[in-house]
Symmetry: C2
Subunit: 332 residues, 2 copies
């Protein structure tokens, strides 16, 4: 039997090329090896979008459409929406009774996120609770393998502690101890050369970008600031144009890319020529994604995919929950 | 239309005479004036009984039986069990996104409880979350009036803040701002003269005590330590025997109690005589409670009462929740 894989996406905006390199590429390889479950964590999005909650619904549909478009078909993975499975809240509430407040605050990922998102003292109780929701997100489908970045390992450790605690109370193993699958997580720099990609910096290329949008983004891409004219010798390292070429060109283009790199270093090719080449490469890469997007771009179809997956997961979650409630004696 | 009253009991053990004076007597007066809802907060009990959760179920049944026995009939009040209404967890999860962690920790009742229960640093995340659950416990039935001790006012203020926040988001009043009904909350000292009554101190008389148990407890009651023999003048103030007489004797016994107080102060009546009188008074007080207890003491009947009330509340809760989810855009 295939092991169960679970991972989640917090719908705070459309996915971009950085997400592809960082996560989706990996999932596309893993999907057939595992019984795969993908969560759309819309409630989690409230930790940052609480003042504009209505937008989360749109983000959730956008992210689902992005995932389907890259090739994570609903026939191969099960999609579920956090808010469609209220049992997740119930489960996380029980978990919160078994985790000390101190332990929750000691979570290094929580500390890092507070710093990274600049939350200061302005984070919600729900934000501190989030590792409980995450444990429920994973354990509700008895997820065993969780492909995550190294920064999420602390949350997984928390989930394992919870699983062990309930297994101890039950006197038998009712919950798996989910393991992180920390692969080679690629990282992509922004089109402006900033190592951090973000919507607010405008330095991303969305998976849903049109040909024209790709062209515009690439033509304004940051390259080598030391190179003032095409005949100056240029730098390839740290140059977004070449980084994107390496990340998105198919194997048969490797030779051509190697040539461009040599010519660039010698000052024998202009930025515009290489950028035009990158535009073609990116549009070729996005072509099948755009094609699938057209097929899936139907609100009713997306709704159906969310509903079917969520119902399947809800049925499973109810079984897990009834085991937990048995342990807690909550069966009147 | 009657206003809606809501209050809750955390089932951590059987109810005793202290609960009657502190709360139940008041509820018996209020039940017909309001549309009354009584919560059995079994999940809350996990904040202190997490290592022995199976016992909570028994406590829940015991507390319900106590409440029914004192005369809070299921035909007059609606009983609901927290864990039977998972929507409460869902609602509280949303609330937790709108309350800052700092605000939650600033709750003076939380601080007092930590001190009172000697929790030190050993309290759960669920304990800190509890005001969110409590807000959901109240708002799920749109409770307007909450008879509580003054110590719970801080929780109610938190519930009002949450109600206001969601009303603001909704652009209309979808949740009431629940008000505390802080009545004359009587307090009873322990049979050992300790102002704190507790199971662990063994200084309580349960509402479910038999005649023999009442006799035993009263005969060993602390009285006046300065009085060595019956002919010594005695003190009536702070003397549990007289405090209990004042609390539980019917009006027609007031004269007799007055006489005993005089004689006691003059050293003309022994402890034993007054205690025997108190035994009769308490057993007379408990007689109708015992009679009703016999009628209700049937696990199937108790189960049915919990089920019917919880189902009624669940239906109402779902309506409230769907209003909240509409505001959050969580309607796929």
């Amino acid at each position: 039997m295939k092991k169960r894989l679970m991972t989640g996406f917090t719908p705070t905006g459309k996915l971009h090329l950085g997400h592809f390199v960082g996560n989706l590429e990996n999932l596309l390889k893993l999907k057939s090896e595992y019984d795969s479950y993908l969560l759309l964590a819309d409630t989690h999005a409230l930790t940052t979008l609480k003042d504009n909650p209505a937008i989360i619904k749109q983000h959730t549909q956008d992210v689902l459409l992005d995932l389907l478009s890259v090739g994570l078909s609903e026939t191969e993975v099960t999609y579920y929406v956090e808010s469609e499975i209220p049992e997740i809240y119930e489960m996380s509430s029980f978990f919160s009774m078994y985790v000390s407040h101190n332990r929750a605050l000691r979570n290094p990922t929580i500390k890092d996120e507070i710093k990274m998102k600049g939350l200061g003292e302005q984070f919600s109780l729900g934000f501190i609770n989030y590792p409980m929701f995450q444990a429920a997100d994973i354990l509700c489908v008895k997820g065993e393998i969780v492909p995550v970045g190294i920064d999420q390992e602390a949350h997984l450790e928390q989930s394992r502690e919870i699983a062990r605690e309930f297994n101890r109370l039950a006197g038998k193993d009712i919950l798996p101890e989910p393991k992180a699958l920390i692969g080679r997580v690629g990282k992509l720099i922004g089109t402006d050369g900033n190592p951090k990609m973000s919507k607010s910096l405008g330095n991303t290329i969305y998976l849903s970008a049109t040909e024209e949008e790709v062209e515009k983004k690439v033509m304004s891409m940051y390259t080598d600031p030391t190179r003032l004219k095409a005949t100056d010798p240029g730098h390839v390292e740290g140059n977004p144009v070449f980084i994107y070429l390496d990340a998105f060109a198919p194997a048969q283009e490797r030779e051509q890319i190697g040539k461009y790199k040599e010519l660039y270093k010698l000052g024998q090719v202009g930025d515009v020529e290489v950028k035009k080449y990158l535009i073609k490469i990116l549009n070729d890469f996005l072509a099948p994604i755009r094609k699938r997007r057209e097929e899936y771009n139907n609100p009713e179809l997306l709704k159906k995919i969310m509903k079917q997956g969520s119902e399947k997961v809800q049925t499973e979650t109810r079984l897990v929950l009834s085991e937990l409630k048995q342990v807690l004696g909550m069966n009147y």
